[in-house]
């Protein structure tokens, strides 16, 4: 058993999740993810939607070794808070890298990937993960 299956729940978040849409508070300057109409820090409604940058740096991370049911079979995998280049902090998995190679400060870029399946009869949920930026000049 995992959480309750739902198509509309995944569907209604598609803009924020697939396009990385956050918000900027015009009053206190906070940027946040996902977008919502009220700033979580100062409470202002003077908020604008913002397409967030797709590159950033790993701020802190962990390796999940005993996962929740809907991620069984994927462990070990890396979860992190990524500091995007505009300063917004986002939660995401780090992919295309061995867990032991991940470090704080690592440069990463957004990719579109599969996250979890809603059981055998449910839909597959997708979203943004981050992978290490490949430095072409060093190759």
């Amino acid at each position: 058993m995992a959480y309750v299956r739902s198509v509309p729940r995944a569907w209604r978040e598609r803009q924020n999740k697939y396009r990385l849409i956050g918000g900027t508070c015009k009053d206190c300057g906070k940027t946040f993810y996902p977008y919502r109409g009220i700033c979580p820090v100062c409470g202002s409604s003077n908020v604008e939607a913002k397409k967030l940058p797709e590159t950033g740096t790993i701020e802190t991370f962990s390796v999940v070794r005993t996962p929740p049911t809907e991620f069984t079979g994927q462990a070990p995998y890396v979860v992190a808070l990524v500091r995007l280049d505009d300063g917004t902090l986002v939660p995401a998995q780090i992919t295309d890298v061995e867990p032991e190679e991940v470090q704080v400060g690592m440069r990463v870029e957004a990719v579109f990937r599969r996250y979890r399946e809603q059981g055998e009869k449910g839909i597959i949920e997708y979203g943004i993960k981050f992978r290490p930026v490949v430095n072409l000049e060093s190759k």
């Binding site: 058993m1 995992a2 959480y3 729940r9 978040e13 999740k17 946040f32 993810y33 996902p34 979580p40 820090v41 701020e59 802190t60 991370f61 962990s62 390796v63 999940v64 070794r65 005993t66 996962p67 929740p68 049911t69 809907e70 991620f71 069984t72 994927q74 995998y77 979860v79 992190a80 808070l81 902090l89 986002v90 939660p91 995401a92 998995q93 867990p99 704080v104 996250y115 979890r116 949920e125 979203g127």
Partner: protein
Amino acid sequence: MGKAYIVGIGATKIDEHWEKGIRDLMTEASLRAIQDAGISKKEIQGIFVGNMSSGYLQGQEHLGSLLATWLGLPGVAANKVEAACASGGAAVHAAYLAVKSGLYDCVLAVGVEKLTDAPTSDATSALIMAEDQEYVAFAGFSFVALNALVYREYMRRFGVRQEDIALFAVHDHKYAANNPLAQYNKPLSLEDVLKSPLVADPIRLLESAPLGDGSAALVICSEEKARRLNKDVFVELAGSALATDILSLHDRPDLTTLSATVKARSMAFKQAGIDVNDIDILEVHDAFTVLGVIHLEDLGFAKKGEGWKLLKEGQLEKDGKIPTNTMGGLKARGHPVGATGVYQIYDLVTQLRGDAGANQVPDPEIGLAQNVGGVGGTVAINVVRRVR
């Protein structure tokens, strides 16, 4: 406003209770508290049941009516109170409001959780429901992993070593050895902790509170009603505060401080008319070793980045400067999620009554319990004071 008194306490042992369901556990704890209070159960006017995950793990909601029914008290006001791992502290807060308002003069605050009915992976799914399902649980974070993010950042920012933080688990096990209600009665060495398997790097298994089942209950009365009972020691619920923080870590300005602790602390101190120096005994919500250290700082017992020093210097021992988790804490007494906030107060009252046996702190008068939901999305702080 009148005063609120804790006149009865009851609890089950924290364990893997294969033979008992959630209804059995909360009924047993409630009856023990009623018996300890020396009142008739018919005097109970309201019941607040702290619980996080009965709907998900047992397929059972409506715990208020269920408990009233199993206690044989149909008609009484009763409802569940949910604030993730702070559900127990929040239930006590609800009881405090009910009695302080004058509407009720005798209520039950109960906490209950049963995590071992389900496979570990389902319990893991249940616990991450404390965070944002659509953006954080969605990404595969476990609750342990969220705390691991904080742990890594804390060590990096303050240059603290894991072996100095992991000592919290050793501390808890030392005291649980003398607590008959504790889930674990076996001491641990620092080496045991640091060699245990990784759950979510850098957090190791023996730095994490275990999965377990249990229920604890308190009878809370008005002063007028309490004074009619024949007691050697009275315990006042002298302050009770609840505060929230931004739900998700990634939206907060600082990962290494729980601002809800700071807010709830100030409110509770004001209600009780005390400051940090008046506290004789402390219960902190150390679901993971590093959080125990952070709580000591946020509560005002240490500067930021220095909470571990209290542990290392022995200041948290029963004869130290601020005796902490003296019945085993979350790591070793156990952490049946929605019951933990009530167990903490059960343990403080046991100490204030002088009933803590080998773990007895010399003559404590004022105790504080800090109960945390999620990674600080909610913090409940309850202050108890002995009155002779």
